[in-house]
Subunit: 391 residues, 2 copies
């Protein structure tokens, strides 16, 4: 049954890819990057997935040994792909799509010379656009991730003991994540986006600007991994923002909750409530057809009216977005920025994360994962959204 | 003091890069991939490091805000790099090196068009070759990793309880790794080499072939992360191979030890001793000038004499190497394969990992990290190498 459901899901994705290819008059699409292989074949292997604009796809496998099935061909090098084309009488693509924003330069050039197409298009753009609209099976995977994400966060108060550091708290949470089924890997799109299982920001560390395209920063525990917890002692009056991965299936939910040691300043509590107001307003108004840029603008309007602009999405460096698509990677399309061109559409899944950094206290605010339905948006990660005091 | 030591280390690396550039008549080298930025600047940022064949390097930074120092220039896009060149009167490189095996196709092409050099060479090849020979500071980082790696493995027997699965054991070890300072990230070179903190192989799962370039496989807990532990119950007669990352500094040691639940078969114990014999023979004979291919051949000679070829480095799929360089990435140069062209040289650091997979039992064998000295090789990861029975 699961196998049949998986195959049905793959066939639906293949059909969507072929429809999109036909629109841009592409003849073939060759995928080899892990997330695209997983998306189109349900597994990660060393090799290639080739889909023509019409007809059945082919699986060219270097490793592992022992895979079998229709159109599975073992190869040692990409040159053997086109040898198979010749043997099987397959049409060589005039316009070929390759993953131009993911393949290395040398790999891309080698594949281009193997196929020698008249024209080469960008499979990364095509796949990221298609992956934005989730299939029923993908949505059910998000629901499982959400459930385990919420269950893990419910255990966070037990992880705390007075005098501990943010890192010690994180290690306890990580272990509970794994026991609740976290796969561990936290996949992101783009260069140098290395992050380990998520981020905890406490106190002044929340102000440290990030080298990455994430909402907030933090110094991290080492210069080779400059993000999140840095050994800050969780003392009285500190806000602790927990933004750990929801990778309980390959489809990650994204969720942030805030905890406090003792009481925070009035400004921190007020900013947190404003974040909830932003979220709730967007939750009430967003629906298919809503421009993603409008969501950002709606948030900024509230922030400015409340006079909280200096704290919104950072202080020393402020991120210019309030949310992003999620999926196999944590930063899929759409992006909720003032310049976004996308509109919400049914079966998009995105994280909404209005956050404030309060100097001397830490970060407050909220993040939840939402599914775009036919009539509005549905919150997937449902649990207490107030600041929870630890003791 | 640490700061001075770091700067001295960076200057040594810059000098080596410039010497290597002069040999191949390259005029400039632009680096932007995380591991190369860390190697040359001691941090990871969003931006570029530019080093001319002679003179001082430049740091072009997009994020984070707030970096300062000589030759630090903030930019929003790579086109501003060459604007800075014009403003500062810097010579445009005739031959430019770019990271052709790491940059995406589109990023590479964009940088190439920004600089428009007469010739473009491969910075990946240059950097991987240079990074093979470690600096004194790098070697001291390996020693710290080794110490914490050994300390963590010493805690493994406490992690075990009868009836647990390989994954449950792994979660306990992961937590101890973190408490002992593991940074978490397990960086690898090459496409799709995603791995989470290491691998534990128990029982029949040790036979499952890998899609990756790692020594052994294992089904993993999910098709999106197909490597290592898969939920195998650790029952009587099972060998448990623990090969968890030594990422206690950015310079990772690599070490494998084998544990057993109750007693294993005679074949398993014999194969383990043969692995130790291979290691010890190589440890006695290897020195600067030894061909890496000869190390592989020396191992194979013993394996064949003992009649253990069907079990060496896997059963259903056998890896054709017995070791690999280590560093910021787990698979640096040299590689110990029958086709390796490299010879050992002082200050290389590599992992040696003769392993056998015994059907129905699991994997046995050994892995340690070695430093090439002026006269031989020195084992960095020193602790009990026998199979340890858990109870």
């Amino acid at each position: 049954m699961i196998q049949e459901e998986l195959i049905g899901d793959l066939k639906l994705k293949w059909k969507r890819i072929q429809q999109a290819m036909q629109k841009i008059e592409a003849d073939g699409c060759l995928l080899t990057v892990d997330v695209n292989l997983y998306y189109t074949t349900g597994r990660i292997y060393s090799g290639y997935f080739y889909i023509p604009a019409e007809g059945t796809p082919w699986f060219f496998v270097k490793r592992p040994n022992g895979l079998s099935g229709n159109n599975v061909v073992y190869i040692r090098k990409p040159e053997q792909i086109t040898e198979t084309f010749a043997k099987q009488g397959l049409k060589m693509p005039g316009k070929l799509l390759l993953e131009a924003d993911e393949l290395t330069y040398n790999d891309f050039v080698r594949l281009q010379s193997v196929f020698n197409p008249k024209e080469t298009g960008n499979a990364t753009t095509l796949m990221r656009t298609l992956r934005m609209i989730k299939t029923p099976r993908e949505i059910s995977q998000f629901r499982i991730s959400a459930q385990n994400h919420v269950a893990t966060y419910a255990e966070i108060p037990e992880c705390f003991h007075p005098g501990m550091t943010d890192l010690e708290l994180q290690y306890e949470i990580e272990k509970r994540m794994r026991k609740n089924g976290s796969i561990g890997l936290f996949r992101a799109f783009g260069a140098n986006m290395d992050i380990f299982m998520g981020s905890i920001l406490a106190g002044e560390n929340a102000e440290v600007p990030s080298p990455f395209d994430f909402a907030l920063g933090g110094a991290g525990m080492d210069a080779s991994c400059p993000l999140g917890a840095n050994g800050t002692v969780l003392k009285e009056g500190t806000a602790i923002m927990v933004d750990m991965a929801g990778n309980y299936t390959p489809y990650m939910t994204d969720m942030t909750r805030v905890f406090s040691v003792g009481k925070l300043t009035d400004l921190a509590y007020r900013a947190h409530q404003v974040a909830l107001t932003i979220q709730n307003k967007i939750e009430s108004n967003a629906k298919p057809g809503t421009a993603c840029a409008d969501l950002y603008n709606a948030a900024m309007e509230i922030v400015e009216k409340e006079g909280l602009s200096p704290y919104f999405m950072g202080t020393k460096q402020q991120a210019k977005f309030i949310g992003h698509g999620i999926g196999i990677q944590i930063n899929e399309l759409p992006v909720l920025t003032p310049r976004s061109k996308e509109e919400l559409a049914p079966n998009m899944v995105f994280a909404l994360e209005p956050k404030f950094v309060i100097p001397g206290v830490g970060a407050v605010g909220i993040e939840n994962s939402f599914l775009v339905t036919d009539t509005g948006i549905e919150k997937l990660t449902r649990c207490n959204e107030e600041i929870i005091e630890l003791s």
